[in-house]
Amino acid sequence: MEALYATVTGFLAASGLYLALRGRTFPVVVGLTLLSYAVNLFLFSTGGLTTNGAAVIRDGVNDYADPLPQALVLTAIVIGFAMTAFSVILAMRVRGDQGSDQVNDQRGEESKEDKS
């Protein structure tokens, strides 16, 4: 099960990174969102994978899931949303002001290379 979990994390990270390396804003934003899923899964797993663990304290129960990574990931999810929102709206602003949705500075060498 651990190997499967790690494989999923790896695939998500790879897909997210591939998208983040694209030259247009929207795929980059989607890629960052995907990457943040992978990161959240990774962080969550640092507490170990608990099946049927208790999330809430009850008398007589000893098998709890690790709450600390959960708390950290919970805020990370919300912050991740804020980051996605900010970057996508920045992308819209750039398109509005410059008429382009390319991520590279138009004066740069690389963007020319990308156009060809």
């Binding site: 990774f42 663990g53 600390l68 709206i89 992308a91």
Partner: protein
């Protein structure tokens, strides 16, 4: 203690001139002179004590962690310099009153001048190495302002910049040297450092420390090869040159040599470096002084030459040489300041400083001619004037030095050569300017300057004569005191007198005078000889090299930072891969000791769907809508994964965020192109796929290695204390609002800031709104389907009720402020989607920014509230209360904090989504709408 006052009064004095206007010039000058005059009074009051051997100290702690104290001392060396700085400074104030033209701002000039005076006083009185350095840099800064006083002239600006660059650089080197000395000695206290000579010189760090400190001193005192800035600093008004470049700033370097003489001098290293640098500078600059046509240029190079002379004297391994150096500091300050003033008067009254144009001025300005002649004679070392005595002492000392072993005769010969040149340029200065036929075609008709302008010269030249005639009476006390501070020894047998009998030094002096006259007569040949060398302008060379440096930097920056996000990402990922990958290489094997947990079909299916959806998002990214749908599948699967692995809170949060994210990206997609054009080259795709695969592989390996290794969690503490300490059974929520409440506070603040940032980004944003989808099909005319509208409306109260429920139970069951906030936001957004912005706007006519800000405020105030009860920030309290009909209920202050979280999440999410949605309508965010709704 009145020592700090000596520094403080001129500092306050830099404000005084700014109080009166430029037109009240007399008032301005007199009021400026007042405070330094009082400071001079205080110094003089201390003088008898200092001459008697007393050393005054005063110390206040400033930054004890750095070893920086506000410590001042007043010993013989400080006294000598203080008298020069304050005395000549007062004369300069008087002189400048008449020198400055009506259009020059006098308050600004005096303010800079006083600032400079303060920093100079600070240097000579500092009793702490770091403090000395602070004032040292202040002189660089204030002299920059003074040299660039006529900032409308390019020459002044460039000269000022070069002076600042050179002396500032030297100052930084000096700081490094001071830090080394401080590390060797263990303190920056001046007295301790001065007493630790053996300790310092035995340390291997002595060599770098000495070189760095000397670099500071040599750049400041314009020693070869750092002399080039001084001639260009002559673009300053002449009073500035007279003050900075004769008596004070350039003397700071030789002051430092004298100040640190007890600690650093005495080694072979010091002897060779300091003496030879001084000697070379003396001859080199004297030669160029002879060739200059600008009056101030001659004076600038002669200043460099005399500074070389003083440096050489401080280098020689004899106590009398040091005394001679100190004496020459006084003498040079008097005659050189007077000469600079005379050049200022000539410039002022004739309109030019070019020696080739000036001639016969003794008829039109007899008094200036007489005074300048006497000062120049002192500079040349003519008997009965003070320059003669110190020059005689210098020649005596060069004879006695054991430097260079068998070639020791070279030193006195070269010193004599320097004197010969000195006589020649002094003679040229006076004879060409004041004698000969009357000059014609001068820009102005020459006449004598107003008497108050000549008065400072008169006083200085008077001093030259008096010191020259009766040196023992006037300066021996002061010199003794200064020498005691510099060589820390009983004063050497010092005989200050004019006549020492017929001896070798006298012969050398005679040779210097005769040779000088000789060279002067054949100067034409010298000029012709010099013409064969190309003219080199230090300023041009300096600026050229600075430009080259800047260009090189710009090219390097452009290469690294070319504006390509893709390239930055590439470097980032390569770095991550390298760092993380190398860590993985160190593992013996990837699998740890933990027993793997069993797999089941459901898990396999879930993992398969997630991987496929993830890959689909990437592969289909050019069809953006499809890609987005794939992304939402991944999000939902992640949410399920959280649920599967015992994290209900996370599953709920992920689910709600997923909904919000997809709505957000859908909305954004409306305004962005629906498809990504195919533009990456095949090679680029291969590169990125390889990179992504490598990254995924490293992440997966790392995750696997982590999961299969036994781990010690600190979570036991939270599980044990959640109920007893936080009053809640849902540990995750208790961690968020209580144990790690400070983190959460930061988190919601970031959320709020991001939302406000987005609001501003949307302000007045106008985007193209497509009227059809990517296939060219027009949008449906049924904008708000009836079914959705009806359902959403009836769903709203239910959704709100659910969110309240989730909020209230959050402390003990899965739920809490974050999730409840997201549910509320989603319910309201649904209303916007179903009914349109106009409809929703009429019913929800309030701004969301205040809600988010109120949320952060409530959370912060809850945290602050615990201070009222004497607890730490964000300490929570809770209790059980019995309410009739409802039963027992638990209330905790953490719930109030959670309310803040709830409000922030609602406000921020709606601020982002609702405002983005409003872009399509006339309610778009803009300044006008803000006024309407607020």
């Amino acid at each position: 203690m009145s020592l700090p006052l000596i520094v403080l009064l001129p500092l306050l004095g830099s404000l005084v001139p700014l109080l009166s206007s430029n037109r009240q010039r007399n008032l301005n000058a007199w009021s400026t002179a007042l405070l330094p005059a009082i400071a001079l009074g205080i110094v003089i009051a201390h003088a008898p004590g200092v001459v008697a051997g007393e050393v005054y100290h005063s110390s206040m702690s400033w930054v004890p962690q750095l070893g920086l104290d506000l410590a001042f001392r007043l010993d013989g060396l400080s006294l000598l310099f203080l008298l020069l700085i304050l005395g000549i400074g007062l004369l300069i104030i008087l002189y400048a009153r008449y020198y400055l033209a009506p259009e020059d701002s006098m308050p600004r000039f005096y303010a800079y001048l006083m600032l400079f005076m303060t920093s100079m006083i600070g240097i000579v009185m500092a009793d702490n190495l770091l403090l000395l350095w602070v004032f040292w840099e202040l002189t660089s800064l204030s002299s920059f302002l003074l040299i660039g006083y006529w900032y409308q002239q390019s020459e002044a600006r460039r000269g000022a910049r070069m002076a600042l660059a050179v002396t500032g650089m030297g100052g930084l080197a000096m700081l490094a040297g001071f830090l080394l000395i401080g590390h060797i000695v263990g303190t920056y206290d001046m007295q301790t450092v001065l007493d630790s000579r053996d300790l310092i010189q035995a340390d291997p760090r002595y060599l770098p420390a000495l070189l760095l400190v000397l670099l500071g001193a040599f750049t400041k005192s314009a020693q070869f090869p750092f002399h080039f800035w001084l001639p260009h600093a002559m673009a300053a008004p002449t009073p500035v040159s007279a003050f900075l470049h004769s008596a004070t700033m350039v003397k700071a370097g030789v002051f430092l040599l004298a100040r640190l003489h007890p600690a650093l001098a005495g080694s072979q290293l010091w002897l060779y470096i300091v003496t030879l640098t001084g000697l070379v500078t003396m001859i080199y600059a004297a030669y160029f002084a002879l060739l200059k046509y600008d009056l101030k240029g001659v004076l600038a190079f002669s200043t460099v030459s005399h500074l070389g002379l003083i440096t050489m004297l401080f280098g020689l391994d004899s106590k009398l040489a040091v005394v001679a150096g100190l004496f020459h500091i006084i003498n040079h300050a008097t005659f050189k300041a007077a000469l600079f003033m005379s050049s200022g008067i000539i410039d002022h009254e004739t309109g030019t400083r070019d020696i080739r144009k000036l001639s016969g001025l003794r008829r039109s300005m007899p008094m200036t001619a007489a005074l300048a002649g006497l000062a120049a004679a002192s500079m040349a070392g003519v008997p009965l004037l003070n320059g003669f005595i110190s020059k005689e002492m210098m020649l005596t000392e060069t004879l006695e030095s054991g430097l260079l072993g068998g070639l020791a005769w070279l030193i006195p010969v070269l010193a004599t050569l320097g004197s010969v040149l000195s006589v020649a340029y002094s003679l040229r200065l006076i004879r060409n300017v004041f004698f000969g036929p009357e000059a014609k075609e001068l820009p102005k008709t020459p006449h004598e300057a107003p008497f108050p302008m000549r008065l400072p010269m008169l006083i200085l030249v008077g001093l030259c004569i008096v010191i020259g005639l009766i040196p023992a009476v006037i300066v021996s006390g002061l010199l003794d005191a200064a020498a005691r501070a510099t060589i820390l020894a009983p004063r050497p047998e010092l005989q200050l007198s004019i006549w020492h009998g017929f001896n070798l030094p006298l012969l050398m002096s005679a040779i210097a005078l005769a040779g000088g006259v000789g060279i002067y007569t054949v100067r034409r040949n010298l000029f012709n000889f010099q013409r064969q060398f190309p003219q080199r302008n230090a300023l041009m060379i300096f600026e050229h090299s600075v430009r080259r440096l800047l260009q090189w930097t710009q090219v390097t920056i452009d290469r690294l930072e070319n504006g390509s996000l893709q390239r930055y990402m590439l470097w980032l990922i390569v770095a991550v891969l390298f760092l993380t990958g190398s860590g993985l290489l160190d593992l013996d094997q990837l699998q740890g000791s933990r027993q793997p947990q069993p797999l089941d079909g459901l898990l396999l299916a879930g993992a398969g769907i997630t991987i496929l959806a993830g890959l689909g998002t990437a592969i289909l990214h050019r069809r953006r809508l499809v890609s987005l749908m794939m992304l939402s599948v991944v999000g939902l699967m992640v949410s399920l994964a959280f649920a599967r692995f015992s994290a209900p809170d996370l599953a709920l949060t992920q689910l709600a965020v997923e909904v919000v994210t997809v709505i957000l990206l859908m909305l954004a997609l409306f305004f962005l192109p629906q498809r990504t054009p195919k533009e990456s080259s095949g090679a680029r795709v291969v590169r990125d796929v390889l990179l992504a695969a490598g990254f995924g592989g490293v992440v997966a390996s790392l995750n696997y290695a982590l999961l299969t290794r036994p781990m010690d969690s600190i979570s036991g503490f939270f599980l044990d204390n959640s109920v007893s300490g936080g009053g809640g059974h849902n540990v995750v929520n208790v961690i968020l609002v209580d144990f790690r409440g400070f983190d959460t506070l930061g988190e919601i603040t970031v959320l709020c800031i991001a939302a406000i940032g987005i609001y501003k980004l949307l302000n007045r944003l106008r985007l193209f709104m497509p009227s059809s989808d990517s296939e060219g099909r027009p949008w449906s005319r049924d904008l708000h389907p009836m079914l959705l509208a009806t359902v959403s409306q009836s769903l709203l109260p239910l959704a709100l009720l659910v969110s309240v429920f989730i909020f209230l139970r959050g402390h003990n069951e899965p739920g809490g402020g974050f999730i409840a906030g997201l549910v509320t936001a989603v319910a309201l957004i649904l209303l916007y989607i179903a009914r349109g912005v106009d409809w929703a706007q009429q019913r929800l006519s309030f701004q969301y920014q205040p809600i988010a800000v109120t949320g952060v405020a409530i959370a912060t105030l809850t945290g602050l509230g615990s201070w009222l009860f004497g607890h730490n920030f964000l300490t929570s309290a809770f209790g059980h209360f019995s309410i009739p009909y409802i039963g027992e209920i638990e209330l905790a202050t953490a719930m109030l904090f959670d309310l803040g979280v709830y409000l922030t999440v609602v406000g921020a999410t709606l601020m982002i989504l609702a405002n983005l949605g409003k872009l399509t309508t006339r309610h778009r965010p803009s300044k006008e709408n803000e006024k309407e709704t607020v």
